[in-house]
């Protein structure tokens, strides 16, 4: 049962090991040959740059998580870069281009919605406005034209919030007073 070079392996096991070794060697040469070609032809990616970017990001996240930092991302603003301050609700006043009334900027969208007869509430009440004729496509189809591979269903969307300090959340749709 034992061969001259037997070290506790049966000939069967030795043969299997031998074949495995050959296959492994062959695969290693496959990889080496491919890498050699990629390197020689200048097709390899610039891994150093990629690693540097990754390192910078990791560092940045550590710094951002550090509470001793000024926490610019989430702190309340005092003045902006031009030295100005702004109220939570934009208070510039201008004329609505649909009806001509004077409206405060921060309340313009809800006003316009009713004014144009858009939105759920307005649609429930009023008759259709003439601009309904411009209704060109339903949700999802423009996306499929221009980015066919993206999921264009209306559920794949992130909604925005109301104005104010970053990081605070507001409930759906309502403009809350501070």
């Amino acid at each position: 049962m034992s061969g001259p070079n037997d070290d506790n392996m049966s000939p069967h096991t030795q043969l299997s090991s031998h074949f495995f070794g050959d296959l492994l060697d062959s695969i290693i040469v496959d990889v080496a040959s491919e890498c050699h070609r990629i390197a020689k032809l200048g097709l390899d990616r610039n891994l150093e740059e990629e690693e540097e970017e990754l390192r910078l990001s990791t560092q940045a996240r550590v710094r951002a998580a550090d509470p001793s930092n000024s926490g610019e991302a989430n702190s309340k603003y005092v003045v902006d870069i031009f030295g100005q301050t702004h109220p939570p609700v934009a208070n510039e006043i201008f004329e609505c281009m649909n009806c001509g009334r004077s409206i405060m900027a921060g309340r313009f969208a809800p006003h316009l919605e009713k004014c144009m007869g858009k939105g759920r509430k307005a649609r429930l009440k009023a008759t259709r406005s003439s601009t309904a004729a411009q209704n060109r496509y339903s949700r999802g189809s423009p996306v499929s034209t221009y980015s066919p591979y993206s999921n264009s269903s209306s559920t794949n969307r992130l909604s925005n919030g109301t104005p104010g300090v970053a990081g605070e959340e507001y409930s759906n749709g309502t403009l809350e007073e501070p």
Binding site: R45, L47, E72, H86, E92, G106, G119, T131, Q134, N151
Partner: protein, 592 residues
């Protein structure tokens, strides 16, 4: 695997590839024999499976053996190109291949790896490369495949416009006089960049403000509007709209009250007004009210006072600009060329999709225009989500040695997402594709690549996760690393195709001699739209990079931030612009 070495060699660069000079033995061989031996080899090239790896066999059932030692199981067996003798090369053992070269008269140094179809110099003991040999291999690989390109928008027309050199221009005396009489220079009192101005939130409109800030600082778009390429007064006049308010007031519209719209809807005009206002030097926050009004007329299904998605707005807006310009001047409607309107000129690229039948190798190719790329985040963090492709054993795509940094650290990265986007994907049993050659539905392999890069690449991260179990959706807050400089070369069709055929030296789709791809695959980040909060209640903020300084635009509030804040932020849409812009010869009509 270090890539340091190559960057210092002065090799001839062909479309970002290096074409290494031959070793003296190969050069000698070529000089003596030309490319005849390589073409003769073509009869011996066996490609299995269709389009897969090529091997050298004199007849299909041949089992190559080393002439010196009789071994056939060696990992490396080389067939001499001069006399067809097969020798093994198995360091650290004796190299019968090298022995063959030295024992024979000169001319037997060049051999070919019978299993991998790679040329080897037995004297240098190194793998060498030859363009004609590679061409022969690729041709035999593609001969085993049939393919078809569907879709008439094959981008042949891209090549018609040759590149021209940049010609600098300065105004002459007459130009100066004309400029000075018609205008006055804007003052910029501070060191702060022009065009930096807050946008008032009009009520749940930060989704719109965030995208507008990015667009206001998209270099080609900004240049277009600031160069007066779409003049809102001229546009309205041309469209026969009489407008008593044309004096630069913000609320350009009809004079009378109730919804009687004489003003022709034109989002580009509203953009023009916005650019003028934002770059005017006035730093008080601007209210994009007219823009909102126009957009709601254009996209009436999205016209409501509620929280909305920034990406959806972006797409809708570009469509709005396209719609209006399209009706003028008999411009081509197809967006792939970007000749239709400024929106597509800036953002439109072309994607290539290949679907390959796994049975017969028949490949069906389609080209589609796109204005952005929506990317999925990896299913679980740190998981290696490479799909194992049985089609190609060349598992390159940048991951050949497993050194993709993102996957090592377990962080999701933008490049990792792009790798996934362009990886070969198996369309399984439930997604069989109809193969024209087999005339039956077969399991297939699908692969995306970028045929033409846009001037500005917008990447949209799908931070949405739908759980079919719980029947609800949630937002994926997972951090995604994104670089400030991005090289898109690995994702080009030419790179992907080249990789599919073993990285051979061969002009693949997209490799043009006047390489518009050359050096224009490098992009720089200039804007990041971030989202914080929940799926239905959150807040958008945009970070802008101007003169390598980062600014945070949070509706009306513009503040300066350190780049670390940006790197650590949760990116939702990232905007990259080509580092180098090349000019193409214009056709006789005015180029838009």
């Amino acid at each position: 695997m270090s890539s340091k070495i190559n960057h210092h060699h002065h090799h001839h660069r062909f479309n970002t590839q290096i074409f290494p000079p031959p070793c003296p033995h190969l050069a000698e061989f070529r000089a003596r024999n030309g490319s005849k031996p390589f073409r003769a080899l073509q009869d011996c090239l066996r490609v299995k499976p269709p389009g897969g790896r090529a091997a050298i066999r004199r007849d299909p059932s041949e089992v190559p053996r080393c002439g010196a030692c009789g071994e056939s199981a060696r990992p490396r067996l080389y067939a001499c190109l001069a006399c067809a003798a097969i020798s093994c090369h198995a360091p650290p053992g004796p190299s019968h291949a090298a022995a063959h070269a030295t024992s024979m008269p000169p001319g037997h140094e060049i051999a070919v790896d019978v299993d991998r179809a790679e040329i080897f110099c037995c004297a240098c003991r190194d793998q060498v490369y030859d363009r004609d040999f590679d061409a022969a291999v690729v041709l035999s690989q593609t001969a085993t495949l049939k393919s078809a390109t569907i879709q008439s928008a094959k981008p042949e027309n891209l090549r018609k416009r040759r590149r021209v050199d940049y010609r600098p221009w300065s105004p002459d005396i007459r130009d100066r006089v004309l400029m000075e009489t018609g205008s006055s220079p804007l003052e910029n009192g501070s060191d702060l960049p022009r065009g930096l101005r807050g946008l008032n939130n009009l009520g749940n409109t930060c989704f719109m403000n965030s995208v507008l800030q990015a667009l206001l600082h998209t270099p080609p778009l900004r240049n277009y509007f600031l160069s007066d390429r779409h003049n809102r007064y001229y546009c309205k006049k041309k469209n026969g709209v009489s407008n008593s308010n044309a004096g630069g007031k913000r609320n350009v519209g009809t004079a009378d009250g109730h919804g009687n719209k004489n003003a022709r809807l034109c989002l580009a005009c509203d953009m023009d007004a916005m650019f003028s206002a934002v770059f005017s030097g006035d730093r008080k926050p601007y209210s994009p009210a007219k823009f909102l009004y126009s957009w709601w007329q254009h996209a009436s299904n999205l016209a409501s006072y509620e929280q909305q998605d920034a990406h959806e707005f972006f797409i809708s807006m570009l469509d709005g600009i396209h719609e209006n310009v399209e009706k003028d001047r008999h411009k081509p409607h197809s967006q792939g060329h970007g000749d239709c309107c400024i929106a597509h000129r800036v953002f439109s690229g072309i994607l290539r999709s290949d679907v390959m039948c796994m049975t017969c190798g028949f490949t069906s190719t389609t080209y589609d225009p796109c204005v952005d790329i929506s990317l999925d985040l990896e299913p679980h963090q740190g998981g290696s989500s490479k799909s194992v492709s049985t089609k190609t054993h060349h598992s390159c795509n940048g991951e050949v040695d497993g050194m993709n940094p993102g996957q090592n650290c377990g962080i999701s990265t933008l490049m990792g997402c792009l790798d996934r986007f362009t990886r070969p994907e198996r369309l399984g049993a439930d997604q069989k594709f109809f193969c024209q050659q087999c005339q039956v539905r077969q399991e297939s392999l699908k692969q995306m690549s970028i045929r033409k890069l846009p001037l500005v690449s917008c990447f949209h991260i799908k931070r949405f996760e739908h759980s079919s179990i719980r029947k609800m959706s949630r937002k994926v807050d997972r951090y995604l690393q994104f670089p400030f400089s991005l090289d898109m070369t690995p994702y080009l069709s030419s790179s992907i195709l080249r990789n599919r055929f073993g990285n051979r030296i061969f002009p693949f789709d997209g490799d043009e001699p006047d390489a518009s791809n050359e050096m224009s695959s490098e992009f720089e980040l200039f804007a990041v739209v971030t989202h914080t909060g929940k799926l239905d209640a959150g807040h958008y903020v945009t970070y802008l990079r101007l003169s390598n300084q980062w600014y945070k635009c949070d509706d009306a509030w513009v503040t300066q931030v350190n780049e670390n804040i940006v790197r650590a932020a949760q990116g939702y849409m990232m905007f990259y612009v080509q580092k180098m812009l090349y000019y193409k010869a214009s056709e006789n009509r005015a180029v838009s």
